[in-house]
């Protein structure tokens, strides 16, 4: 199998350049609140992308992303609280290691369980970590979480810059853009093709001779690491870590981003995240329980538009 | 009474039937022969709404029933005895029968009559009436599958390979049952691999090949001229 190319490549790169350009320009034109908001959308977008690897490409619905995200967050917190001066790169490493360990754990179960059993188990894992973090107050700060100082954007020998909101934003744009490029490369590689083949017809993929277990393990690890990275970014942006983010409902929201944006498209989930967060921002001023209509729209989309916005657009434009 | 007109049917993405047309008149016993995999079972399933008919029509008693859900068809008088019998293994013999017997519009007297009739035709079922369906032997399960269909008091029974895997003694029992049903005016569309049996009980026979009907003749003609059978079935 060769890497996939299609007539959308050129427009895609043009679009990508435009979007990145806009994002880089954002802090220079937007008021502070919206600038922060843009940064947050990017972080959740990264989380949604990581989730798409599992849901969209491999066909495994995981409620465990809150665990990966949470451990990335707490891992970063650990680094930033225990090592002086707070080191950005160490925070990233700690966060990725934390998320990676959880991902390895989940990966083990991914290979032995299918469908709903897998989903329920990932949900249970999220809850296990939630309970541990919530009750182990001495280490994790329990209900109140942990607060810490932001590190500097420091590259030894090159620069040492404080993270102003603008610098942070650019850093996040860089990280998320790079992650996107990396994930895109991976999903379009032969490896990515096999993942999709697993989603479409697992027994047949196995019959052809692929070690489905190994692919699933790698998919979970990949997904977990990028989710953890999102957690690290969130910790750095907000300077706190809280158990709320480990609650499985966060995973649920991520899944909503995925479905609304379009699973299996990588870009779709980011769009879904942006759409959802903007909707929340807009609607919550008028109607506190905005999640009721949003939830209903979600259900309708699952039934009638399972491809999500992007999938729908893609089909329309391909015709 | 039952007519298939140019039915194209799919099983998932496989195009199995490429335009099947046949008909069964009231009270007729019609045979459907063909090698393995030509689409005989799929033809029955397309009547039952279980194999998506993409093109073509199925009519029953003048009414278009193409693609209707199975439970409507049972109400209209079409009963199905599938290839693998599909006995409800965890239900007792009596409960299996009741899935067809417990219908609206059937009073207690009629129910008792139906049950007695079926027990008379299949004494072994009366014996085992409180046993779980899964504990019956292959032949007994076939009896049960047919008896269960009879509970619907159907106008036509779609019989899919009833003698598959049965001992000769049971095969002749099946033959007697087909005869009995025919006597009562129940039409039968019989899919079979057993050619002699089919030719013996049927009035007319269709022969299928690769998803279409290739030959159609009265059974008497085919009995007199076995070369045709050899040609299509290599038997």
């Amino acid at each position: 199998m060769t890497a996939a190319t299609d007539r959308w490549d050129r427009p895609h790169w043009i679009g990508f350049a435009v979007v990145v350009g806009l994002l880089v320009a954002a802090p220079l034109v937007l008021p502070p609140f919206w600038q922060r908001f843009a940064t947050e959308i990017l972080i959740w977008g990264l989380l949604a992308m990581s989730s798409d690897i599992l849901i969209g490409y491999t066909g495994m619905v995981s409620f465990g992303h809150s665990a990966f995200f949470g451990l990335g967050m707490y891992g970063a917190a650990a680094a930033l609280l225990t090592v002086r001066p707070p080191n950005l790169w160490l925070a990233i490493v700690y966060g990725l290691v934390g998320a990676g360990l959880v991902a390895a754990f989940v990966a083990y179960f991914a290979t032995r369980l299918r469908d709903i059993y897998f989903s329920i188990t990932t949900l249970v894992f999220s809850q296990i970590f939630y309970v541990i973090i919530f009750t182990w107050t001495a280490v994790t700060g329990g209900e109140n979480g942990l607060t810490f100082r932001q590190p500097h954007l420091a590259v030894p020998g090159l620069a040492d810059v404080t993270f102003t909101p603008t610098v942070l934003h650019w850093f996040v744009v860089a990280v998320v853009a790079l992650s996107y490029l990396l994930l895109r490369r991976i999903t379009r590689s032969p490896f990515g093709m096999v993942l999709q083949s697993i989603r479409e017809n697992e027994p047949r993929t196995r019959a052809i001779g692929y070690s489905v277990e190994r692919y699933k393990i790698v998919a979970v690890l990949l997904s977990g690491l990028f989710a953890g990275l999102a957690g690290v970014l969130y910790a750095i942006q907000n300077k706190f870590a809280a158990p709320d983010f480990v609650f499985f409902l966060v995973s649920g929201e991520v899944i909503i981003f995925n479905v609304m944006g379009g699973i299996g498209t990588l870009v779709g989930p980011v769009v879904g995240a942006a759409f959802f967060l903007l909707l929340r921002e807009g609607l919550s001023r008028y109607f506190e329980y905005y999640l009721i209509p949003v939830g209903i729209i979600f259900i309708l989309m699952v039934i009638f538009l399972p491809q999500g916005f992007l999938g729908f657009l893609r089909r329309r434009l391909n015709q | 009474m039952l007519t298939l007109s140019d039915v194209h049917a799919y099983y998932g993405k496989s195009h199995i039937l490429h335009g099947v047309s046949l008909e069964v008149g009231p009270g007729e016993v019609v045979g459907l022969l063909g090698r393995n995999g030509v689409g005989k079972s799929t033809t029955l399933k397309s009547v039952m709404g279980l194999a998506r008919p993409e093109r073509g029509r199925v009519t029953f008693d003048g009414r278009d029933i193409t693609g209707l859900q199975p439970h409507h068809l049972a109400r209209l008088g079409i009963a199905w005895v599938p290839e693998d019998r599909r006995i409800f293994r965890l239900l007792t013999v009596l409960e299996n029968l009741r899935t067809g017997l417990d219908r609206s519009g059937v009073d207690d007297a009629r129910r008792t009559r139906l049950l007695d009739k079926v027990y008379a035709a299949f004494p072994v079922l009366r014996e085992r009436r409180n046993q779980a369906g899964g504990t019956l032997s292959g032949g007994e399960q076939q009896m049960l599958a047919i008896a269960r269909a009879m509970m619907l008091e159907p106008k036509i029974i779609l019989l899919d390979e009833p003698t598959e895997g049965l001992m000769p003694r049971m095969v002749s029992q099946i033959r007697d049952i087909i005869g009995m049903l025919h006597q009562e005016g129940v039409a039968i569309l019989l899919v079979e691999q057993n050619v002699p049996l089919t030719l013996a009980v049927s009035g007319r026979v269709y022969i299928m090949e690769k998803g279409v009907v290739r030959h159609h003749a009265p059974a008497a003609d085919l009995r007199a001229n076995p070369a045709v059978i050899h040609q299509y079935l290599g038997v």
Binding site: L113, Y117, I128, I292, V302 | W80
Partner: protein, 288 residues
């Protein structure tokens, strides 16, 4: 530690187990017959509790509230199944998980909107305690277990006898053949979902005097019910009941040593061990 706390926790475990069994039976029944994992099942428990609380505020009668809640949620469940789940029949299981998750979200926020964030308490219909070793044990708790058991028993009888019970069991075993026998399968599905919803609602009302009714109790019940259903064997009614009691007893004993919030980890561990070693269910006679 003395002998008595263990016995008290055994009784507590049994009581909680019976309520959980009531919730789980509905869930496993629904899964067995239509392969649907109802993520919103716990939220039906929650809604039932709230409807019961509101009814009781109006009528003052617990038993009327129980009945009304069960009926209202049964009708709601039927409507839900017809509108949301029927179109999804035959699609891959991923979509029903997502759809019912969406329903769960909507129900939780709806409850928050209609009943507010604070917990509702229901008055016990049976007050008074009796001497259980060193403490005074409430009669109501025992009554709850008995009532839950009675409802489950009634369900069992319903399934074993009568035409509808045969229809349900036939549809569970072989949906297509059941349909071919004239059984109105879509209608059977809707009715079973309604029954499951009614049982969930009843659990919510029964649980009301014990723990109060809150929005978040839905997720809690859903999670526990899932664990019970998996440990008991999906689609296996008897297994769910045993598993519910087993898990509740484990949690009850665990809370002698750790806080209740941490005691739930015991059930998580039970789930994981079951999935690893006996994935078809601990209480299933032979692994298939």
């Amino acid at each position: 530690m003395g002998f008595e706390p263990i016995l008290v926790q055994t009784v507590n475990g049994l009581v909680n187990g019976m309520i959980l069994a009531l919730v789980a039976s509905g869930l496993t029944l629904i899964f067995g017959i239509m392969d649907v994992v109802n993520f919103a099942h716990g939220d039906l428990v929650m809604l039932g509790g709230f409807v019961g609380a509101s009814t009781m505020a109006v009528t003052g009668n617990f038993w009327v509230a129980l009945l009304v809640a069960a009926l209202v949620i049964a009708v709601f469940g039927a409507a839900l199944q017809v509108s949301t789940l029927r179109p999804l029949l035959g699609r891959d299981p991923l979509t029903t998980i997502l759809a019912t998750f969406g329903v769960s979200l909507v129900l939780q926020k709806y409850a928050l909107w209609q009943w507010g964030p604070s917990a509702r308490n229901l008055q016990e219909p049976i007050t008074g305690r009796f001497d259980l070793f060193y403490l005074q044990y409430p009669w109501y708790r025992v009554a709850t277990a008995v009532l839950a058991g009675a409802i489950i028993g009634a369900l069992w009888l319903f399934l074993k006898r009568g035409t509808f019970g045969i229809w349900i069991r036939a549809t569970t075993q072989d949906r297509i053949m059941a349909s071919a026998m004239g059984i109105p399968v879509p209608w059977v599905h809707t009715t079973v979902f309604a029954i499951g919803a009614a049982m969930a609602a009843a659990s919510g009302v029964l649980f009301g005097p014990l723990g109060g009714v809150t929005q978040t109790m839905g997720s809690d019940f859903t999670l526990r019910a899932f664990i019970v259903v998996v440990v008991g064997g999906m689609g296996n009614l008897g297994g769910s009941i045993l598993a519910a009691i087993f898990i509740s007893l484990l949690e009850a004993y665990a809370s002698l040593f750790v806080s209740p919030a941490q005691a739930v980890i015991v059930s998580f561990v039970a789930l994981i061990l079951t999935l690893l070693f006996r994935p078809t269910g601990l209480f299933v006679p032979t692994p298939k």
